[in-house]
C-alpha cells in the first residue's frame, strides 16, 4: 500500500513538473539499478521524478537505450535474456522481448539499438541449444523487433552476426547499424548484409600493439558520436609503454578516429563527447577530461569512488557519472569541480547500467 502511495506521489510530482515546465526542454537522467529499478531524474532539479519497477528483471540490469523521441527506455534485464521497454512518464511497460525460448537459452551481451524512427529494435543474440545432457553453442545473430510488438514481441527479421559484439548503434540514415566487437562492422538494417568492416582489434595504428577495447555503454548523446577509451602499447626498445587513445565514431558521417591522449596512468571505463566534441569526459576511479583536438589529457580529478558510466548535459555544462554504486555524481564540465550527488532510494546498485541523458519536453 505504501509503495502504491509512493509511486502515486511520484506520478503526481511528474504531472506537476510537466504542467509547470511543459514548454521548457530539460535533461532527464535515466539509469537502472538492482534489483529491478528504472529511475528518471530531473537533472537540473536534482530530483528523482520516476521510480519504476521492471517486472522479471531477475536482479540483473545492464544496458539502457532510450527511444529517439525520449519517451521510452529499453532496458536489458533478466541476466541478459529480456529487453523491456518502459514509458518514462508513467513507468508502464510497453515492450517486452524474451530472447530465450524452450530448449534455447539466449544472452544478449549488452548490445542492442533502436532505429532513428523508433520503429525497430535490433538486438544481438548469443544462443545456446540446451540438450538433455549437453549444451550446443550456436552461431550468433542479430534479431529485429517491431517496437510496437507489445509485451510478447517476436523477431521480424534475423541475420547472422559475428561473435563478441558488445555495442550496437543505429545510424541516423535509418538504413544501417554499427556493431562493435573484434572490429567495427556495418550492417544493412533491412537485409542484414555486411556493408563493411573497419579495424578495432585490427586497427593498424603505426607502432602500436594490438588494442584492447571493452565497450558496453552505447552512449551517443548529445553529440551524435560514440566514443570509448581504447588501450594499447607503443613498442620502444623492446618494451611496451601503455597508452590510452580515444576512439570516436560519428554515426552520421561514419568517421572513425583513434587518437592517443596519454601514457596510461588511469583506467577509464566509458567516455562521452561534449556537444561541440572539443572535449571528451571519462570515468572509472577518476574523472578525466580529454582535449580531443589536441589529443591531450586536459584535466583529471579523483572520484569519491568508482563510477562506470558517464554522460553529459545537453548544453555541455555538467558531467554525470553513474553506474557501479548507488549515486550519480555531478561535476562542472569546465572545472571538474563536484557540484552534487543524487543518491538512489535505498542505495540501489546501478552496477553495469548505462546512464543516459534524455533531452525532453
Amino acid at each position: 500500500m505504501r509503495t502504491i502511495l509512493r509511486l502515486a506521489g511520484i506520478g503526481f510530482g511528474v504531472l506537476l513538473g510537466m504542467m509547470s515546465q511543459s514548454a521548457i526542454a530539460r535533461d532527464l537522467l535515466v539509469t537502472a539499478a538492482k534489483p529491478d529499478k528504472l529511475y528518471v531524474i530531473d537533472a537540473k532539479a536534482r530530483k528523482i521524478v520516476g521510480d519504476f519497477h521492471i517486472a522479471g528483471a531477475n536482479n540483473h540490469i545492464t544496458t539502457v537505450v532510450p527511444s529517439p523521441d525520449g519517451k521510452v527506455a529499453y532496458v536489458l534485464v533478466n541476466r541478459m535474456e529480456t529487453i523491456v521497454g518502459i514509458q518514462l512518464k508513467t513507468g508502464r511497460e510497453v515492450f517486452r522481448a524474451n530472447l530465450s525460448s524452450p530448449g534455447e537459452r539466449v544472452k544478449d551481451f549488452f548490445a542492442f539499438t533502436v532505429t532513428p524512427n523508433g520503429k525497430e529494435l535490433i538486438a544481438y543474440e548469443l544462443p545456446t541449444r540446451l540438450g538433455s545432457s549437453e549444451y550446443q553453442v550456436e552461431e550468433p545473430r542479430f534479431v529485429v523487433f517491431n517496437t510496437k510488438g507489445g509485451t510478447h514481441a517476436k523477431p521480424i527479421r534475423t541475420f547472422p552476426a559475428p561473435r563478441r559484439i558488445g555495442v550496437m548503434l543505429a545510424r541516423p540514415n535509418g538504413r544501417s547499424f554499427y556493431a562493435i566487437g573484434f572490429d567495427l562492422y556495418e550492417y544493412n538494417l533491412k537485409t542484414g548484409a555486411l556493408m563493411g568492416s573497419r579495424g578495432v582489434m585490427n586497427w593498424q595504428q603505426p607502432a602500436h600493439g594490438q588494442p584492447d577495447l571493452l565497450a558496453f555503454w552505447p552512449v551517443t548523446e548529445p553529440s551524435g558520436a560514440f566514443s570509448s577509451p581504447i588501450y594499447s602499447e607503443i613498442q620502444k626498445d623492446g618494451a611496451g609503454d601503455a597508452v590510452t587513445a580515444l576512439m570516436t565514431l560519428d554515426l552520421k558521417t561514419g568517421d572513425l578516429t583513434y587518437r592517443d591522449f596519454e601514457q596510461t596512468t588511469a583506467l577509464i571505463f566509458s567516455t562521452v563527447l561534449a556537444p561541440d566534441r572539443k572535449f571528451a569526459y571519462g570515468t572509472y576511479t577518476t574523472l578525466t577530461k580529454v582535449d580531443v583536438a589536441a589529443g591531450k589529457l586536459a584535466k583529471r580529478v579523483n572520484n569519491d569512488h568508482t563510477y562506470y558510466s558517464i554522460n553529459i548535459a545537453s548544453d555541455g555544462s555538467e558531467v554525470y557519472a553513474g553506474g557501479a554504486m548507488c549515486d550519480i555524481a555531478i561535476y562542472d564540465a569546465g572545472t571538474l569541480d563536484k557540484k552534487g550527488d543524487i543518491e538512489l532510494p535505498g542505495c540501489a546498485d546501478q552496477a553495469l547500467a548505462t546512464l543516459r541523458v534524455v533531452h525532453s519536453r
Partner: protein
Amino acid sequence: MIKSRIGLIAAASLAFMMPAISLAEVELVRAYCSGCHHESSPGQFDRISAVRKTPEGWTMTLFRMHQVHGLNLPEDVRDQIVHHLSDAQGLAPSEAATGRFALERRPNVKDIDLGAETNAMCGRCHSIARSALQRRDADEWLKLAHMHLGQWPSLEYQASSRDRPWWTIASTQMPSQLAAQWGLSSVAWTQWKNTPHRSLEGRWVLTSHAAGGLDYYGTMTVKKEPDGSYRAQYELHDSAGSVVHGTSHALVYTGYEWRGTADFDGFPVREVYATNEDGSRLSGRWFDANHPEAGGDTVAIREETSTTILAVSPRALKVGYVGPVTLVGTGLDRSNVATFGPGISVGRVVHGSGTMTVDVRVEDTADVGAHTVTAGAATSTVSVYRRIDSLSISPEFAIARLGGGKTPSVSAQFEALGSIRLPDGTLFPIGPVAATWSTAPFDEEAKKQDDVRFAGSVDEHGQFHPAGAGPNKEREFSGNNVGNLKVIASATESEGAKADAHLIVTVQRWNNTPIY
C-alpha cells in the same frame, strides 16, 4: 526451462527410487542421472561414462548439477555416487600427481605451465590443474567447451580472451590438444583399476610440519569401519613438547585418496592424503576446515616398516646446544644407540611411541653443516650451525585476500628459512628458523596509498592477516583495503640476517571451489 524439467525428473526419481539407496551404486547413477544422461548401453551413460575425474572433480560436477540444473540428491546418495564414480572412473596415482597441489588446496603454488595460449585459454579462470585432473577424449573435451561458453557467455569478453578468437580456438584446437595430453584411456588407469589395493588398517608413524608453526610427530592408529570408511586415532607430540590428541573419519576413494574430517583437541581439520602405489606410505596436506590456506604437510609410514628415521626434531642444532633430540620413525625401539657424528656427544636415550629421544651436547669442536644421524640400520641428517648467515622466505611471492560478509579472508603464511656459510664458502640450508616479522610498502605507489596501514598485518609466526573488504572512505577513491607489500623477516638469533617476500593483498574470491 531445462532446470524445471530436470527438477521434475529428479523429483520423480526421488519419489520412485527412495529404496534405491540400498541398491548397487551403478543403480544410483541410473536412478538419479539417467533422466538426462541417457543410458546408451548397460551401465554407459551419456557424458558421465566418457569422463574420469578425482573425488573433488565429481563433487564439483554434482554441485553444478544441483546449482544449475536443480538436481536434488539426498546427501548420502550424493556421497555414494561420488564414491562410485571416483572408484570406477577415477585417476591413477601417477595421473593425479601433477595436479595434487590443487586437491591439497596448497596456497601460493605456481600452476602447471602449458604455454601461453593454453594458460590463457583455460588457466585465466581456473587452475590448469583442474583440467589436468580430468580425462576425456576429444569429442568430450569439445562438449566441455560448449558447456563452458553456454554456461558462462562472458568468457569471450574477458581480458586475455577478447584479444583472440576464444571460441574458435576452444572449439577447434583445444579438444584434440587436451585429448592428446589427457585422453580417456590410459595404461596407468587400466593397471591401477585391476590392482587390489592394500587396506590402510594398522598403526602408522607420522611426522607433520605446519609452516610458520610447529612440527608434530607420533602415531596414527587406523581402523576400518563396516561401511568401508576408516577411523584414525592420533597420539602426537608437538615440537614444543605438548601432547596433541586427534581423531579422523576418512573416506578412501579410488583405493588411495584419503579424505579425512578430523578434530585435533577441538580444532577442525580436513585431510587430503594419498598413499603411494604399494600402500606403504601416506602423505599429503591437512588444513584448517575454515581456512584451507592454513595447514601443514604430513608423512606417515606403517609401523612394521623396517627401521626408518622419518624426521629429526629439532632439525638444526646450534653449537653449544645441550638438550633432547627426538628421532621419529619405525623400528627405533630395537636400538638403544644413536650417533650424531663428530663433536656431538650422546647421553640418555628414551623410547616413545614411534620416537627415540636422545640427550645430546653439541661441542665447540663440532663442524657446522650436515651431520649423519644413525639409529640401528637407519640414517638421517641433522644440521649444526653457529650463526645464521643468510635468510630467505618461503613463499617468495604470496597472495592474501580480504574478508567480509559470507566470504572469509584468506591469510598468507610465510616461513623464514635459514642458511649457514660453510668453510668452503657455499651456503647450506638449515630449515625453518625463528624470525621477527614486519611489512613495508612494495613500491612508491603502495607507499603513497599507505597500504601498510590498510591492508592488514603480519603476526609473530609469519602469518599475514588481511583487513576487512569493502569500500573504505579513508582511502583514495574509497578504495578497498588492497595492498602491495614487502613482508620482511629478521632472524631472531642472528642480527643482520634479513629477507623479504612480495605479498599482494587483493579482493575476495567469491566461488571457493574444491579445486581452485
